[in-house]
């Protein structure tokens, strides 16, 4: 028995480690975005986000002052100044582009026949010459500096105010909330009819709903855009609300019907016997009891509409004022490929809301998935 126990504990270690690695692998990409959104542009461009908690090295050059800045000190002409800004620390310096880190801080280099250049660890430099300086541009000093890790929220301020993401956020909200609420109502009534009313064609309709679950919405784009134009709806919020309602309905009806069928028959029958109308039964008994299923679908639809790019691109205009957040992100990826800090921060803002909803309502999401796992996104 002892042997078995030992085997089991080593196995459980292996399971723990394997699970940890798997979770790590799945978390790292999102973590990278999160960390990047708090780094400034130079940091993102000069080192990977995983190095953001250690100091990063940067190289660059500064020019010394020119003859105008020179003063006389005894028999020497002297130019003084500093090569550092902010909280940088000097690691090495040099005078030529070929060897930008030739000297250590505190060393003295001889340049241009008779000039002595000293750069100290605190960044101050001293250029001396026996003869007067004659130069229109300052001498170049190449520096290798170390910048301590910094965390900044400046990206968020900039993105939310200047980059128009605040507007996109509002647009996304405007699209998402009605497009989540309206299908729920329509579907709830339909689901009740399919689950608890007797009428010819019920089985056929239920089968049709299951079939419509998987219709690729790409098929609908052009016909619907044409239809909207003919009806005078055109491109705009009304159109996208209607479209999302239509696309979300099969899943809504399917989920709710499956849930309502499982409700206790006696409750509904006895209400009928007591003379309650179907409308009263629906409102007083079915709706409250179906809350978990309603919540499941609400989360699905919310996530789906919030994260959608295709329907928004087609049914809303593509001007700056009309873009939803996924549209802005797409534009940023195309046109501002270099502005990493804007991209990372915008992306994180756009996924923050779904993530909050996800973590807060995970229970209902899982329940819904288990009930309706034939829907294909």
């Amino acid at each position: 028995m002892e042997g078995m126990a030992g085997k089991r504990s080593s196995l459980s270690w292996a399971v723990n480690i394997a699970a940890f690695l798997l979770v790590l692998l799945w978390t790292i990409p999102t973590l990278g975005l999160f960390v990047s959104s708090f780094r400034d542009r130079d940091q993102i461009a000069s080192s990977g986000w995983w190095q953001s908690f250690s100091a990063s090295e940067q190289t660059g050059f500064v020019r010394t002052g020119t003859d105008d800045d020179a003063r006389q000190e005894g028999g020497l002409y002297v130019i003084e100044g500093s090569v550092l800004e902010g909280d940088q620390q000097l690691v090495a310096w040099g005078t030529g582009a070929r060897r930008p880190a030739e000297f250590q801080p505190g060393e003295t280099a001889r340049i241009n026949d008779g000039w002595d250049l000293t750069v100290n660890a605190d960044g101050s430099y001293r250029l001396t010459s026996a003869a007067p300086f004659e130069m229109r541009r300052g001498e170049r000093i190449f520096t290798t500096t170390e910048v301590p890790p910094t965390i900044t929220t400046a990206n968020y301020q900039r993105v939310l105010t200047a980059e128009g993401l605040g507007r996109a956020f509002m647009n996304t909200m405007t699209v998402t909330i009605p497009a989540t609420v309206i299908p729920i109502l329509i579907a709830a009534f339909a689901a009740y009819a399919l689950a608890w009313m007797q009428f010819p064609g019920r089985a056929l309709l239920t089968a049709a709903v299951v079939g419509l679950l998987v219709v690729p919405l790409q098929v609908s784009l052009i016909p619907l855009l044409r239809l909207h134009n003919d009806l005078g709806i055109g491109k705009g919020y009304l159109g996208i609300w209607l479209a999302h309602t239509g696309f979300g309905l099969p899943l809504a009806v399917y989920l709710l019907r499956n849930y309502m069928v499982g409700l206790p028959r006696e409750v509904i029958e006895s209400a009928r016997v007591d003379g309650a109308t179907e409308f009263q039964i629906f409102r007083r008994i079915i709706l409250p009891l179906s809350f978990p299923a309603l919540a499941s679908f609400a989360i699905f639809q919310f996530l789906w509409v919030w994260n959608d790019l295709l329907v928004a691109t087609v049914f809303l205009g593509n001007t700056r004022e009309q873009l939803v957040m996924t549209g802005v992100l797409r534009e940023l990826m195309g046109s501002k490929g270099g502005e990493w800090e804007i991209l990372a921060t915008s992306a994180f803002i756009s996924i923050a809301v779904p993530l909050i909803v996800f973590f807060a309502m995970q229970k209902y999401l899982v329940r819904g998935l288990l009930a309706g796992s034939v829907k294909g996104g």
Partner: protein
């Protein structure tokens, strides 16, 4: 701010309108066929014949207008010229069969169909099995499940930080290239690396879908009767054997459901390709190709619709399978 009022107003009008329809139509029905008086029995019977259609009306209208009609209209358009003015028979389809980009898209879609459902289900099964056996399993599950809540576009940005390329002399800021250079390799421009770039795009979808597979499969694994597992252990089966020979065969039905569900997601994959490569460098897929024909340059609705119908055709077997299964359950 006007936007807020517009949205709030629409919700109120929409919700109120729906309620008004259901309540009002039921009230009218009861007024025409009152469930009392001398004809009460007759009236109730008649009202009960009509009422389901009042409840179903709006849903049928929406389903018909937004899903059924478009399929028929697309079919019609796919048989017509670019602006729908001339009947051209199947020439849009024969064009597609000979078009190089279409063939590339079909091939890539098939590749996606093989790889993504397989890997997602595989990782999902492993994740389910692992997280069910540890104390912090629920937290682990949440974290693996999390990408599900992230948009494809957001995922595209996230993975850009992993695939980013910098010249061999510069510091790599993409995680993958950093690892590769650390191990002594040369940095690669992953997204233009034909044909492997397809796999780098697929990984993004696998990353998103594994959580879904895990959640469903984990529930199925927990539903397996204890006795079968205990019996196998008593017979001396190793944990691996228990998993492969006892557990997996019992959840085959669920695996099939997960597989087909992911298959449908894969068939429609659009956003990931759209934002990461836009179909360049041999990564075109059907949904993106269709978008190109419908909305880029001079739109050709005939060809676009033909591609859409091919997509529709590809999901049809799954649709039929789902309906058959659902009807089995209904009985």
């Amino acid at each position: 701010m006007e936007l807020f009022w517009l949205a709030a107003g629409t919700i109120v009008i929409g919700v109120f309108g729906c309620v008004a329809w259901f309540w009002g139509s039921n009230w009218v029905l009861d007024a025409i066929y009152p469930p009392r008086g001398q004809n009460a029995g007759d009236n109730i019977r008649r009202a009960n014949q009509i009422r389901p259609w009042l409840f179903l009306g709006p849903a049928i209208l929406f389903l018909g207008m937004y899903l059924v009609y478009p399929v028929i209209d697309s079919l019609w358009r796919s048989l017509h010229s670019s602006d729908g003015s001339r009947f051209v028979g199947v020439s849009n389809y024969t064009w597609a069969a000979g078009d190089e980009k279409f063939r590339e898209s079909m091939l890539n879609n098939m590749l996606w169909l093989l790889v993504v459902p397989a890997l997602s289900t595989f990782f999902g099964l492993i994740a389910a099995q692992l997280t069910d056996r540890i104390k912090w399993g629920n937290i682990g599950k949440s974290l693996i499940f999390m990408p599900m809540a992230i948009s494809f576009v957001g995922a595209g940005v996230i993975w850009k930080f992993i695939y980013e390329y910098r010249g061999p002399d510069e510091t790599q800021i993409g995680l993958l290239n950093w690892l590769v250079t650390r191990l002594g390799g040369d940095p690669q421009i992953w997204l233009t690396l034909i044909p492997w770039n397809n796999f780098f795009l697929m990984i993004v979808l696998v990353w998103i879908q594994t959580g879904f597979a895990m959640v469903i499969l984990s529930a199925a694994l927990r539903g397996i009767p204890e006795e079968t597992i205990e019996a196998a252990i008593l017979d001396g089966a190793s944990p691996m054997q228990v998993f492969m020979k006892i557990k997996v065969p019992q959840i085959m039905g669920t695996i099939a459901v997960v597989w087909t569900t992911i298959t449908i997601v894969v068939l429609k994959v659009f956003d990931i390709v759209f934002v990461m490569t836009n179909g360049q460098w041999g990564t075109q897929v059907l949904a993106n190709l269709m978008y190109d024909w419908m909305f880029r340059g001079s739109p050709d609705y005939g060809r676009g619709s033909a591609i859409a119908m091919v997509l529709m055709l590809l999901v049809t077997p799954i649709m039929v399978w789902n309906i058959i299964n659902a009807r089995k359950e209904l009985r």
